[in-house]
Symmetry: C2
Subunit: 170 residues, 2 copies
């Protein structure tokens, strides 16, 4: 593992893409790419009183309208206190609406308001511009590989959430 090889080559395959050096490069690629990934929406958010946490909440509420607070906690992977702070400001600012559940009145169902949808559109447009040009440049096969690796990299629980969101949104 420390000899520069990803694995002992007990098969005939070419496993050079699994060497430690290749993996190190991939780790750096993830780091640098994620910076690019968040850069554009971040620039928009600083002008408002919001941060990346607000963006994430808005993204998933838009993606799963009517989601409960508990469900959102699972998607975001933060504590309820942390989410609540963000949600409170979004509700106070009229970007998110909280509705008491009909069947279960303990639950709050979350929806974006018109203003919330507008901000979501602005942010995701900005983020998609970069994604789209990267995808176009890299081509369909590369994109398929990109998504395949990302999916296998997730924790199983996250992968499950990811798949459910995919299915519920075409």
């Amino acid at each position: 593992m420390a000899d520069g090889r990803g694995t002992s080559s007990h098969s005939g395959e070419n496993l050079l893409f699994l060497t430690d050096e290749q993996l190190r490069q991939a780790i750096e690629a993830m780091f640098f790419a994620y910076r690019g990934f968040t850069a554009d929406p971040d620039r928009i958010l600083v002008d408002m009183a919001y941060g990346r946490a607000h963006h994430r909440a808005i993204h998933f509420i838009n993606r799963a309208p009517g989601t409960t607070v508990n469900n959102l906690l699972g998607l975001l992977g933060v504590t309820k206190q942390s989410l609540n702070r963000v949600l409170r400001t979004l509700i106070a600012d009229g970007l998110v609406e909280s509705q008491v559940g009909k069947s279960d009145k303990r639950e709050r169902h979350l929806y974006l308001t018109e203003a919330g949808r507008a901000l979501e559109q602005t942010l995701s447009d900005a983020q998609r511009v970069r994604m789209r040009s990267a995808f176009r440049e890299a081509g369909p096969e590369a994109v398929a590989g990109f998504r395949s690796v990302l999916e296998t990299m997730m924790d199983p629980e996250m992968r499950h959430s990811y798949q459910r969101l995919k299915e519920n949104s075409g």
Copy 2:
């Protein structure tokens, strides 16, 4: 752009992978995957008094031994005050060594100590385990696509840093 299409299809190509829905899914994949990407080293770091910022500093000092503080600032994309706080603790704990430059004595050249290298190894081993199994599962073509998309997603400046690191380390 808001009609669910990534682009008007003025060519004969199949551009379905550029639809807004596909891009949204990719955005979510990046978010969930990055969580997985950082999860393993994070678990190790909480037991020590360190965080992700320390990990990043250690990673790049290991990767580019003798790098200057200024150079490291560019790689990490933070302020010198923020980096300095991290660096100070690493130096105090004997994981990083700071050497005054020979030609330019204003510069500080940074190196990992033996203990620093040991921690780096522990952290990157943990991170590579997940990477390696994801790569193995997805296969070489997928990995090539993965890296290609990540590279085109970086800001040009970051891409340049990334390429230089690659060249200087085989």
